[in-house]
Symmetry: C2
Subunit: 353 residues, 2 copies
């Protein structure tokens, strides 16, 4: 069965769960916001289907509910952070705010984070910079799931990279992509539902192609576009892993399971202020020209609209704000378990089918 719930009700529920495991009201509010925001945008794998994993993560010690985050300003435009294994969403926001602040005064700001944690949808943080008229660029390393091209053992994470640029339209341009063929979350989701995965997504532990989601989780996800995806995963590992002092490559832990070891993920955030380049008005005009040009490109057969990165998520958000957020049965079962455990009132159901 699929239920629909309102964003507000869902956020209240998620926040209460975070507070129940010892997270401050303020941090719980933001963490819940990021999950619901992902669901609103149709990014299910970064949404509340992860709530149980986060809550369990706090319970077993993977996530520090009251981290002592340390920020060290190393120069006029640079800072390094030690996230102390707090919620990735909370540390990610601090890093974003800091980078934007640095860039406001000097044109650029870069912040690395070590002892970060699972970050979720990167676009939430890059879009933060666009509120201040800036470009935000963010990448992070992640639990090993992708081998270097030609290898059969997972070494890199899905190592996503995201960039958002301000527009004067309804939504920013917001690029956010895993450097693997797919985000590992899609395979986690298929495994959870007992469904097969398409060919070309993954290899098993022996390096053989597989369509079995469980075997793929034991094996490796393939990099996007073969050697190019491998190179991009390495690019992300250099910036987010090597430069930050975080765990590197296959040292990075998982946010799932019973092992209390925190993931130890690294982030790299760069904010760029257009006023120090072509100037903000010219930049926005040029960005809008890109948007318009792309929308007006003659269509290939079978296409009815060319989407700007971020456009589809914006439209989905408008729809789901109005119609509610669909929650799968298996996620609802986790909600019910959480509601009974703490106890917390379940989100109000708008619609069941």
């Amino acid at each position: 069965m699929q239920r629909k719930v309102s964003a507000d009700s869902l956020k209240q529920f998620a926040q209460a769960c975070f507070v129940a495991v010892g997270i401050s009201n303020e941090d719980a509010d933001w963490a819940a916001h990021t999950l619901v925001e992902a669901d609103l945008q149709g990014l299910e794998t970064h949404g509340v289907m992860r709530l149980m994993a986060y809550v369990n993560g706090v319970s077993i010690g993977k996530i520090n509910p009251r981290p002592n985050v340390k920020v060290h300003r190393t120069g006029p435009v640079t800072s390094v952070m030690d996230g102390d294994h707090g919620l990735g969403s909370v540390t990610g926001r601090q890093a974003s705010e800091l980078a934007v602040e640095l860039a406001r005064d000097n044109g650029l700001g870069a912040v690395t984070v070590k002892r970060g944690n699972h970050l979720g949808a990167l676009s939430i943080y890059t879009e933060w910079a666009t509120r201040f008229g800036m470009i935000g660029l963010l990448c992070c390393n992640a639990f090993p799931s992708v081998p270097p091209w030609g290898g059969r053992r997972a070494y890199f994470g899905t190592n996503p990279i995201a960039l958002a640029a301000p527009t004067d339209g309804d939504y920013p341009i917001s690029i956010d992509l895993a450097t693997s063929v797919v985000a590992r979350g899609h395979i986690v989701m298929a495994a959870k539902r007992g469904e097969p995965i398409p060919e070309g997504w993954a290899i098993d532990s022996m390096g053989r192609p597989t369509t079995d989601a469980m075997e793929a989780l034991d094996g490796a996800v393939l990099p996007m576009a073969g050697p190019k995806g491998y190179a991009l995963a390495l690019l992300v590992e250099i910036l987010a892993g090597a430069l930050s002092g975080a765990k590197l490559g296959d040292e990075v832990g998982t946010m799932f399971g019973d092992d209390p070891e925190p993931p130890g993920t690294g982030f790299f955030y760069l904010a760029i202020h257009p006023d120090y380049f072509v100037g903000r008005p010219a930049f926005i005009e040029r960005i809008m020209r890109l948007v318009d040009d792309i929308h007006e490109t003659p269509l290939a057969q079978g296409t009815d609209h060319i989407y700007i990165p971020g456009e589809r998520r914006f439209l989905e958000k408008v729809r789901r704000r109005r119609d509610g957020i669909p929650i799968r049965q298996e996620t609802w079962d986790e909600f019910s378990a959480l509601a009974a455990r703490y106890p917390i009132t379940l989100p109000e159901v708008l619609d069941e089918r």
Copy 2:
């Protein structure tokens, strides 16, 4: 017939050609170096097969042999450059030097270039930063050859992105990739030789898949990994095109042909100093750990070695320094025409077969 020539002799020849069309000795020296360096590294499409196009470009006005390059320092870590349509290699080097200088004092340095020109192999410039222990990141826009995903008309260039990081081994990690399935140069080369191209590389002007290189040049090259490559091409267009004030998207001109309009390309260069993050010694140790880990990854069937980005080019360079650089007959014919035109002595041939 294929000839082999020494790198030194080839460089002397290329330099003399550049000087013959009015480029200063110093600029000609560097421009010739970049072409020969590309050939040494096995990057034929960025090598001396382009010499005739550059020389003609100067003759017809696409390339300004004596540009009045303007640099405007906009803040402590940022500068904008107007390349005045000089050789891309010369402007690219100036931008790299400047970004490295800014990053030395402040941890980061970013330089954008407008009225740039054809840049060639980006890795030459990103590797520049590694000589100073820094990370170099460079991207540029280019003559339209790739449609946005779902479109059938070329809008983006192959929009390459490159990043190099210092190591304490024989070569830096040096990532350099077009965000299209292939660099347009490979299709130019196939067209020149009358050879077909593999399926999946390109569409014709009507948006239909094609294996005809000439039709592909009239049509469009596909982005790597479909929508992800489109998103990355846009990322590059935002940084190198929109932010720099350069020509944007399909306004960018070509370096080929008889139209005297310069390409008007834009560059974005970012230098990152590890001392302002994890510290240089720790960074190098961590980078070497990445290199070793990747080399030690268990191999997939059919693989005998996993290459680090830049490793293959380094090995090729060692080989070609020793054995000479192979020159195809059609390139040699162009050399002969140039040698007769100016007149210049042809490079010394080491070996013919």
